[in-house]
Amino acid sequence: MNLKVLYFASIREKVGTGAEEFELPAGVATVDALRQHLRARGGAWAEALAEGKLLRTAVNQDMVPGAAPVKAGDEIAFFPPVTGG
């Protein structure tokens, strides 16, 4: 089962894609670890997902902290703090 990873708003624009699917990378067990894995792509990825940058994350459409677990088949989303209303 693949991971589905979604990007929204300024993050989506920076990395140049809104969604992708790939296999859960070995050793990735949390949202933070996945973020670090994506950051290692360098360039816009390193910038958009930079450490210390205020981001929100969701696993299976529930907002969760970075320490939340990730498993194969999950839908993970990275986005900036929300600004609706």
Binding site: F8, V82, T83, G84
Partner: protein, 149 residues
């Protein structure tokens, strides 16, 4: 209870009527409408695009409403949030809360907006004379949500 995430505009009068009709237990209806302003953070805003996370948005709004219902008597509620292209003076969001008495209706309406602003996955991008820019989240919004804890 009705939650809608939609492109289309809404009509406050029609929504209030739909909520209060045929339920004689409702003694109070409070509502809030958020609008697009033509100025923000010192720049003129010509247009706005609202992006959201289809699927999660509806789920997040349902959770926020469930939280409100656990705190106050809510006999009926409508939440409508628009997405897509909007321009100044356009309506963005509607919250209507019906209750037996005004205290619950006012409080729940304010709570729903405070939580929506910090928990529902919407993002605003403004078009200004200098180009497009994503609206930054405000600490005052976090503080507004915090006070309900």
């Amino acid at each position: 209870m009705r939650i809608s995430v939609q492109r289309e505009d809404f009509d406050l009068g029609a929504e209030v009527k739909a909520i209060a009709l045929n339920n004689a237990k409702i003694g109070a209806v409070a509502s809030f409408i958020g609008l697009v302003r033509d100025i923000n953070d010192g720049a003129k805003v010509g247009a706005m695009t609202l992006e959201h996370y289809p699927g999660m948005t509806e789920k997040a709004l349902e959770k926020i409403l469930a939280e409100a219902r656990s705190r106050w008597e809510i006999l009926d509620c409508t939440i409508i949030h628009r997405f897509g292209e909007l321009k100044p003076t356009d309506q963005i969001v509607l919250v209507v809360v019906a209750s037996g008495h005004r205290g619950d209706a006012f409080a729940a309406c304010e709570f729903l907006m405070d939580y929506l602003k910090t928990r529902a996955p919407f993002w605003k991008k403004e078009q200004t004379p200098e180009g497009g820019r994503w609206v930054e989240s405000r600490e005052s919004d976090d503080q507004a949500a915090e006070r309900w804890k």
